[in-house]
């Protein structure tokens, strides 16, 4: 490729607007154009670096589009069976209590096949961080209906739209785990605009810091897109997400540490 004229003059520290995190590997990500996963990975890598957690972090990757997450972030990883990441993370954290242990899971993994593991690890208040990417579809297997697919939304297994009478309603699993005394911080964010990326990074940083307190599970949902699965251009997917997904999955904190402490002290009184 021909070198762009003057590029060497442009690459100077004072012009640096964005630097790739040292924790991100040079592996080329396999995600489709416009997918939110790569942004979520980038924030996560930046936070691990900024919080000085590379030597302490042990991640558990799921089955789904982010199955190769371990290729992209330079920390120790365990690849879990579909839906079982919270069980795997439970044991890692119990046996290595000083480490920063987190899972990164999609909606099929976390809210369908792994519902029991999600609910029970949160209910035990495992001191782990769960990152939940919700794009309302099974991306890796080619666009089938997910537990979080919106009513009327088309997928390859709901070709005429999700009929809630026969296929059930989308499950708001984040609201469910927020109700459990075992969770300490539960929030729902997105990564589709620069402002939202900054907000999500802030929320994830809080979650990482909170989990050091050993006060319970931190749970961060990122409502995301799937241009390929939704069969939309990336800009259209983001607009559609704002207009439809956010109506059903409103962004913001579902449970703050103050609320969690309040709930925990009430539960203890009932003992």
């Amino acid at each position: 490729m021909k070198e762009v004229t003057g590029i060497k003059e442009i690459i100077k520290p004072e012009n640096l607007a964005y630097r790739k995190s040292n924790i991100l590997t040079d592996e080329i990500m396999h995600y489709c154009p416009g997918c939110g996963h790569s942004t979520a990975h980038r924030i996560l890598a930046e936070l691990i670096e900024e919080e000085g957690l590379q030597e302490d972090a042990i991640g558990v990757s799921p089955v789904g589009c982010s199955v190769f997450l371990y290729n992209y972030i330079d920390i120790d990883w365990q690849e879990a069976a579909h839906g079982r990441a919270p069980a795997v993370a439970t044991a890692i954290k119990r046996l290595l209590p000083g480490k920063f242990v987190f899972t990164y899971q999609g909606d099929g993994d976390l809210a369908a096949i792994g519902t029991a593991e999600t609910i029970h690890s949160c209910n035990r208040g495992e001191n782990i961080l769960i990152i939940f990417i919700n794009n309302g579809i099974y991306g890796m297997t080619g666009g089938q209906m997910a537990p979080t697919t919106l009513p009327g939304m088309k997928s390859s297994t709901s070709p005429f739209g999700r009929d809630v009478r026969s296929m059930g309603n989308p499950i708001k699993i984040t609201d469910l785990v927020a109700a459990l005394p075992g969770t300490y911080y539960v929030t729902r964010q997105s990564v589709h605009t620069p402002a939202n990326v900054r907000k999500t990074k802030k929320a994830l940083r809080k979650a990482i810091q909170y989990q050091k307190l050993n006060r319970g599970t931190c749970f961060v949902e990122i409502v995301s897109n799937c241009p390929s699965g939704w069969k939309m251009t990336p800009p259209r997917a983001n607009t559609w997400m704002e207009e439809n997904m956010f109506q059903f999955y409103p962004l913001g904190d579902l449970k703050t540490p103050a609320e969690a402490s309040d709930q925990q002290s009430k539960t203890e009184k009932n003992d």
């Binding site: 190769f68 330079d74 365990q78 690849e79 879990a80 795997v88 044991a91 119990r94 046996l95 593991e117």
Partner: protein, 356 residues
């Protein structure tokens, strides 16, 4: 804690032996006839004794994946269950074998299929020795025939698991789990302070990141990995065959039985000899690797072989493969949770002898 003689159930012996072997973690879900294991562990409070973690999981599915997580950290971890629960664990066992993780699983088997019975059975033989879950893999399978072996095989199981980076199963049954015998328990071992170099313990600056996975999209690389597993299983077949002979030296008729059935058959051998029938018993201690060569060798010196098992005839297939047509191989067994009596076995043997 010193070496000690105790009167214990097989299930309790497993639990106490695990603590003393320096296990790091136990993850389990209650199921009859082995719930005493997790009850004993909770009561014994091993976290206070050695720092061993004990956790009651929400399902066998979660329990085996907790074992995956702990084993991935290079820790000595285990789970126990009975037949229906072991079926639920098969997905996890396949992943554990695929990720080459060392761990210990105890199956205190009961009769099936389905919910079946809670009485002892050996009908999980195929599942235990032929892989059980999906894909080409093997567990190392140990078959205890006493409470003492229930205790001893815990440490042996952990040793073999770490030696080969492979899951090890103790295939017991409800009779051995529930019966009480005297048992020598070993002294308390310290929990290991170090982890193997492949374990996920947090990436340090001095090494590359460790990844525990069983995923490989490139079929050429998957084949290379599968061949590596084949080499490992062949090494296990070569090095780890364990079996016991009882009065085989002059035996005209050979019984082959493991676990509870072997206890029964030992008595049958004595009863048969009282009647002038020179019977002997070969008891496989490892079911994978199977003692094929010793059985083949003895087959050359005997007139017939009778395999006795509490199943509809599972191990008999491996005995036939080992004997390879040298002598007739027969099966006798009781199923559905019933244990055969020594007399039944002798009667069957006598009938087969008259038919020779």
């Amino acid at each position: 804690m010193e070496r000690e003689l105790r009167l214990m159930k097989g299930n309790e012996a497993v639990a106490e032996a695990a603590i003393r072997a320096g296990a790091d973690g136990y993850f389990g879900y209650p199921i009859t006839p082995q719930s005493e294991i997790i009850e004993y562990l909770m009561e014994a409070d091993p976290y206070r004794r050695t720092g061993m973690v004990v956790l009651q999981a929400e399902s066998e599915l979660a329990a085996i994946n907790m074992v995956y997580g702990g084993a991935g950290c290079g820790k000595k971890v285990m789970t126990t269950s009975s037949s229906p629960g072991i079926s639920l664990m098969q997905e996890g066992l396949s992943y554990i074998a695929g990720a080459e993780l060392p761990c210990l699983i105890v199956n205190v088997a009961r009769g099936g299929p389905g919910l079946g019975t809670i009485q002892p059975s050996q009908s999980d033989y195929f599942q235990a020795v032929k892989g059980g879950g999906h894909g080409d893999y093997h567990l190392i399978v140990l078959a205890p025939a006493s409470v003492q072996e229930m205790a001893d095989f815990v440490e042996l199981g952990f040793d073999l698991a770490f030696k080969y980076r492979n899951p090890v199963m103790i295939l017991s049954d409800g009779a051995i789990g529930q019966m009480m015998e005297k048992v020598w328990l070993g002294p308390q071992k310290e929990r290991s302070k170090t982890s193997p170099e492949w374990a996920t313990t947090g990436k340090t600056t001095t090494r590359k990141r460790n990844i525990i996975t069983s995923l490989e999209l490139d079929p050429n690389r998957q084949e290379i990995f599968n061949l590596k597993l084949v080499d490992k299983y062949n090494a296990i077949r070569k090095n780890e065959v364990r079996y016991e002979e009882f009065r085989c030296d002059d035996a005209d008729y050979l019984l082959v039985a493991y676990g509870t059935s072997a206890r029964v058959c030992q008595k049958s051998v004595e009863l048969a000899r009282e009647q002038g029938i020179r019977a002997g018993l070969l008891r496989p201690v490892t079911l994978f690797p199977f003692p094929s060569d010793p059985i083949n060798r003895l087959a050359g010196k005997t007139k017939l072989i009778l395999t006795v098992e509490m199943s509809a005839g599972q191990m008999v297939e491996d005995v036939r493969l080992a004997v390879n047509g040298k002598v007739p191989v027969h099966y006798y067994g009781r199923i559905g949770g019933i244990i055969p009596t020594p007399d039944e076995v002798v009667e069957n043997l006598k009938k087969l002898i008259t038919e020779l």
